[in-house]
Assembly symmetry: C2
């Protein structure tokens, strides 16, 4: 998604807020996916943000949308193809330091992850927390939730135990496929 200059400016003027850190993780993942496509390693894209269009009109620049609203996605933001496997994931951030609140993941997104696993795909979350970037595999997320049905968050200790820290690199910025290789394609 491309943000108009006005929004970019607004973002600059904001203090380091939750939204800003989210934006940065998204940008890093978009650069990562572009790099993967460029070196022909994987075909993974961010899905466009779902929007409900209320009205349009003809303008000199073509069809102009003059009333629309953002909609909640029912899937995860990123999907694609790697080594013949279906990949489907999302990026989440929290300022919490001891737990990852499950309200960060919509219930239909959790259901979606469960179905991806059931149908033989690979799914995970990239979690930015405590100034580190973690890969947390879908199997570990679903197992935790099924074993702890009443809990409203995943403890940080679980993420430290089951997750993989991804160190930032120049290219690819966030090399999450390195972790996918370790888990799913180890020799």
């Amino acid at each position: 998604m491309q943000y108009p200059n006005k929004i970019k400016k607004d973002f600059k003027e904001q203090k380091i807020s939750h939204a800003n850190r989210g934006m940065k993780l998204e940008s890093l993942l978009n650069l990562t996916n572009s790099y993967y496509r460029e070196i022909n390693k994987a075909i993974i894209y961010k899905k466009p943000t779902p929007i409900k269009i209320v009205s349009t009109l003809m303008s000199s620049k073509g069809i102009k949308i003059n009333e629309a609203y953002f909609e909640a996605p029912s899937t995860l933001d990123y999907n694609g193809l790697y080594k013949g496997k279906y990949i489907d994931f999302d990026a989440k951030e929290t300022r919490e330091t001891t737990r990852f609140p499950l309200q960060n993941i919509h219930e239909h997104q959790l259901l979606h992850m469960k179905k991806i696993l059931e149908h033989g795909g690979i799914t995970f979350l990239i979690i930015s927390m405590n100034n580190l970037i973690y890969y947390l595999d879908g199997n570990d997320i679903i197992n935790f939730i099924e074993d702890n049905k009443t809990r409203k968050s995943i403890p940080y200790s679980y993420i430290e135990e089951k997750g993989y820290v991804i160190n930032l690199k120049i290219n690819p910025r966030i090399d999450y496929l390195d972790i996918v290789d370790k888990i799913y394609f180890k020799e």
Copy 2:
């Protein structure tokens, strides 16, 4: 399965125009994919239409987008997961009766199909033409284009020869996975 009133109404009120027929094919495929998800056969969604947002403002209904334009997609419209395989396809219509003009497919979409095949995914077009709905496999599309580099269209005879006619059903409306089974999962 219950369909929203809006879709029912759209179906009734549409005249048969090119744009409408495009819309109708899209609606039928959306119903098909909903049905596949409901019976837990496959997890396939239409991607949201990519939109370039120029300006937004706060309104009583939340963030309102008050200037935006449609963008050309660089991938295909539908993707997902079936029997452990990555599926990626698009729906195209033409009023032409003797040939399918290749200008219906953007060049980066063709490149995308080629890459999907290269990385072990399944890709195809659903083509509505001469009052029939065809499945044309990505391998046949890419082969044709590589063997006929100067041609600007695929002859209808090629689609008749290589494609599979999909007869409309009540559910799923356009059972394209039946063809995927025939080609990729035959016993």
